[in-house]
C-alpha cells in the first residue's frame, strides 16, 4: 500500500472504529445527559472519518469512496490501533478508553495542524476543536468517577490497568510513520509521548488512580497484522446493511 493511503487509513480507521464503539451506547448510557454527549462524540468521530477516508479514497485514485472503505473492507485491511476496537464493557471503561484516546488524539491533531500537506492540516484544524472538547469532557468524567465512590474508583482503576498496555502502540512509529515524518506530513509519534505522559499523570493523580510503570505494549492494529478478535464482530454489525443490500440508498 502506498504510504499516504496507508497513513490516512490509520487516522480514518481510528475515528471510524471508535465512533462506532461509542455509538453502541446510544440509548443505553446510565443517564440521558451522558447518552446524548456520547452520541455527539460518536457523530463527531464519524464526521472526521468521512474527511480522513474521503481523502484516502481520493489519494488511492481507484474510484472508491469513504463509504466503500468503511463498509467494504475486512478486518485485516483496517489500520486502527487496538485500543479503539476493544469492547465497551462498563461505562467507566468506555470513558477511560475515551480519555486515553482523546489525550493522544488532541496532541496528534495539534501536530498535524502544521502538516506540509494542506488537505491534512485542514482536516486536523477542523477536528481539533471537536477533540479538545472530547478530551476536556472525558478527563472530567475520569476524575469524577475515579475520585467518586469506592465502586466507581475500583472500576476506573481496573479500566486503567486493562487499557494501559494498549497505549504504547500509538507512540511506536514504523517505517510508514517515519517516512510521513520525514516528508513533514505528520509529527513524530515517539516525540508525542512526553506531552501525553504529563497530561495523563495530572488527570490520573486528580482522579486518585495509580498508573503502572510498565511500558509493555500490545501492537498489531496499526499495520493490520494482529487485530483482536473483537474487530471482526464489530465490523459484522457495522457493515451488515451495506453488505446485504449493496448500493442501497436511503
Amino acid at each position: 500500500m502506498p504510504d499516504l493511503f496507508e497513513w490516512l487509513c490509520r487516522m480514518g480507521d481510528n475515528t471510524l472504529v471508535l465512533g462506532h464503539r461509542v455509538s453502541e451506547w446510544c440509548g443505553h448510557a446510565p443517564v440521558l445527559e451522558e447518552d446524548i454527549a456520547l452520541a455527539n462524540t460518536a457523530l463527531d468521530l464519524i464526521g472526521q472519518t468521512q474527511m480522513w477516508l474521503g481523502l484516502a479514497a481520493e489519494v488511492q485514485g481507484e474510484g472508491r469512496s469513504a463509504d466503500d472503505l468503511a463498509f467494504r473492507r475486512d478486518a485485516w485491511d483496517f489500520r486502527n490501533c487496538l485500543l479503539v476496537e476493544l469492547p465497551n464493557r462498563d461505562f467507566g471503561h468506555t470513558l477511560m478508553r475515551q480519555f486515553l484516546f482523546d489525550s493522544w488524539h488532541k496532541l496528534m491533531l495539534t501536530g498535524l495542524c502544521e502538516s506540509q500537506d494542506d488537505r491534512i492540516a485542514a482536516i486536523a484544524m477542523k477536528s481539533l476543536k471537536e477533540v479538545s472538547y472530547h478530551q476536556e469532557r472525558s478527563a472530567d468524567t475520569v476524575i469524577g468517577l475515579g475520585d467518586g465512590t469506592a465502586e466507581s474508583h475500583d472500576r476506573m482503576q481496573a479500566a486503567l490497568d486493562r487499557l494501559w498496555p494498549y497505549m504504547g502502540e500509538l507512540f511506536q512509529p514504523d517505517a510508514v510513520d517515519d517516512r510521513m515524518t520525514r516528508q513533514g506530513i505528520a509529527p513524530d509519534l515517539a516525540a508525542l509521548r512526553s506531552g501525553f505522559d504529563a497530561i495523563i499523570a495530572d488527570t490520573i493523580q486528580e482522579a486518585t488512580l495509580v498508573l503502572t510503570d510498565s511500558r509493555f505494549a500490545h501492537r498489531g492494529g496499526r499495520d493490520g497484522s494482529r487485530h483482536t478478535e473483537h474487530l471482526g464482530h464489530m465490523l459484522a454489525v457495522m457493515q451488515v446493511l451495506p453488505r446485504s443490500y449493496p448500493d442501497a440508498r436511503w
Binding site: V31, L32, E33, I36, A37, N40, Y133, E136, D140
Partner: protein
C-alpha cells in the same frame, strides 16, 4: 431518589446582543458538568453562543394559587402597553 444528581435550569443566548432564554433543565453533579451537559443537550444544532446554568433549587417561584391577585389586575389596562409608538428599525431587537 437521593442518588440523583441535582437539577439545573439552563439558559442559552442564541446570538450576540440577545438575552439568555430558558430552554429546559438537566441533571449534573456540579456546575461545570452542568454547562458541559447543556452544551451537549441544548446546543448541538448550533443554537447558542453562551450558556448559563442555575441550580433549580435556587429559583424562587411565584405560587400558582396566587395567580389571581398577581396577574388578573393587569388584564384590562391596555394603556400600559407601548403599542402606540412606532419603533425605528435602527433600534433592532427589543
Amino acid at each position: 431518589m437521593s442518588n440523583e444528581w441535582p437539577l439545573w435550569e439552563v439558559f442559552i443566548r442564541g446570538q450576540h446582543g440577545m438575552s439568555h432564554r430558558h430552554v429546559g433543565s438537566l441533571h449534573a453533579p456540579d456546575a461545570e458538568m452542568a454547562i458541559k451537559n447543556a452544551r451537549d443537550v441544548y446546543t448541538r444544532r448550533n443554537e447558542g453562543v453562551s450558556i448559563w446554568v442555575v441550580p433549580a433549587a435556587q429559583i424562587a417561584a411565584s405560587s400558582p394559587s396566587d395567580k389571581g391577585p398577581l396577574f388578573d389586575p393587569s388584564r384590562s389596562k391596555v394603556y400600559r402597553h407601548p403599542t402606540f409608538f412606532d419603533i425605528p428599525d435602527d433600534v433592532g431587537a427589543m
